[in-house]
Symmetry: C2
């Protein structure tokens, strides 16, 4: 089975594969797009990774992930901004125009979600033009509210758009990921809002399965295994004019324990069955 | 230390204690209010439990929990409504005027969150007057969005109020529980809405700690251990005129593994330190 022309695999979905193995698995499954992840790309070498992917004819849909911009400490904040600039530079090297941002959680001992969100906005004042000048758009990703304390104080598309809309659309958009927003009855209207202001920078799929694992990080469900009507969300996003690749990003201990090529082939099939 | 006069302990916080042990622990800690849980009360005998609590001078703040009203199958729906009527009857026997409802998750194979919420509304058409005629108010509890698939399709105070406001305020209100709503930037305005329409039936406290445990049910944090500004939420609720007891409801494997009397005494102290 050859992958849907819009199917993109985020590198984390098959993190058991090295970059050359990923390239080979994409060739075998007819996958044309990948989303990259910072740590393995840096480990392989950013230039070398870019070359490898380019030579294979693979398009990089997003680079994941910058962010973690909520520190209260001045030095930590400066370091985070520097690190995000490096992430933008990596995106340029990889040839993608989207850097996904996971904004960061509450600093230890803080109760102030609104203040933390405001610090993200302040960091974007410096990062947004830096990215825009290099042809990269920052995609603020709302994460499910279960991550609000420790990973991302931006919990809804509405909050992500409140941040993004302070900046030009070519500098800051949002990441729409079904796993994080499927529960939210306001998400459809916020997708329309994002479409109207040209803010849908990327669209990602994962399914919601229960029980959640300890730590709730690595339980994103294979497409079709869970509670999310993937076609419904795809139709909402595409109705707003989004016509780009659709990235499947699964963090799943069960999938990681299997043969990565087999997981990629399965994911290609599931995409066709449940989101095609 | 004698408990704050408004402190109420939900029976699940110290579920390792039998009902007589709970009564004795409340006496030792000067606790005047308890929230009861259906299974242990029924096991002990509802009449006997009511007598025991009454003789000890303990006020029952809520009975937990009815609900699970989202089934598609007609027989299952009828059985759920019957079971909820029994829960109302138990509340009457226990002398409490609040029955908390955990509404139920998605039926297997369904993607339809809105439809499931609508079935809750349909069930309340029968249950609300049944409860109201018996002096019991149903408290629709929004559960954290991480429970939307498998436990409760009502994920926000706004959704809970949309359901409650279809009925007279003396029949249906909402349960405000910090654990479930603390992440929601719309919750403060919804608490004001609930106050304005007289819908705050009960107010519960638990703190948000990470990492979440597998299944995410039994990781509610002891007061002061987590990310929630409990005093802030108490002030919001009390600004709306709520002056009733405040129930501490912790599902926590770590607390359950300890001596229940000690946990109750600690919870009394933590309430004073973090929510008093």
């Amino acid at each position: 089975m050859t992958a849907d022309p819009l199917f993109s695999v985020n590198q984390m979905t098959v993190k058991q594969l090295s970059l050359p193995e990923l390239v080979e698995a994409c060739r075998a499954s007819g996958v044309r797009h990948v989303g990259t992840w910072r740590a393995p790309v840096r480990e392989y070498g950013v230039e070398a990774a870019a070359q490898l992917l380019r030579d294979a004819g693979l398009n990089v849909t997003t680079h994941c992930r910058g962010g973690f911009l909520t520190a209260l400490d001045t030095d930590e904040r400066a370091a985070a901004i520097d690190d995000n600039k490096r992430a933008v530079d990596e995106a340029v090297t990889l040839g993608t125009d989207v850097l996904v941002l996971v904004s960061g959680g509450l600093p230890a001992g803080s109760y102030d979600l609104a203040g933390a969100r405001e610090r993200i906005g302040e960091a974007l004042v410096e990062l947004a033009p830096y990215a825009g000048e290099r042809g990269v758009r920052l995609a603020v990703e709302p994460l499910h509210p279960m991550y609000a304390a420790d990973r991302c104080v931006v919990s809804t598309l509405a909050q992500a758009l409140d941040l993004a809309e302070r900046f030009p659309a070519e500098q800051v958009g949002v990441c729409v990921d079904t796993y994080h927003i499927w529960w939210d009855d306001r998400a459809p209207e916020q997708i329309a809002r994002a479409g109207a202001s040209g803010r849908i920078a990327t669209f990602q799929l994962a399914d919601w399965t229960t029980p959640l694992p300890e730590g709730v990080l690595n339980g994103r469900g294979q497409l079709g295994d869970g509670a999310i009507d993937l076609r419904y969300w795809r139709a909402l996003v595409e109705a707003q004019g989004y016509a780009g690749p659709i990235e499947v990003e699964l963090f799943n201990d069960g999938l990681w324990a299997r043969d990565g090529r087999e997981v990629l082939a399965e994911t290609v099939r599931r995409f066709a069955e449940h989101a095609g």
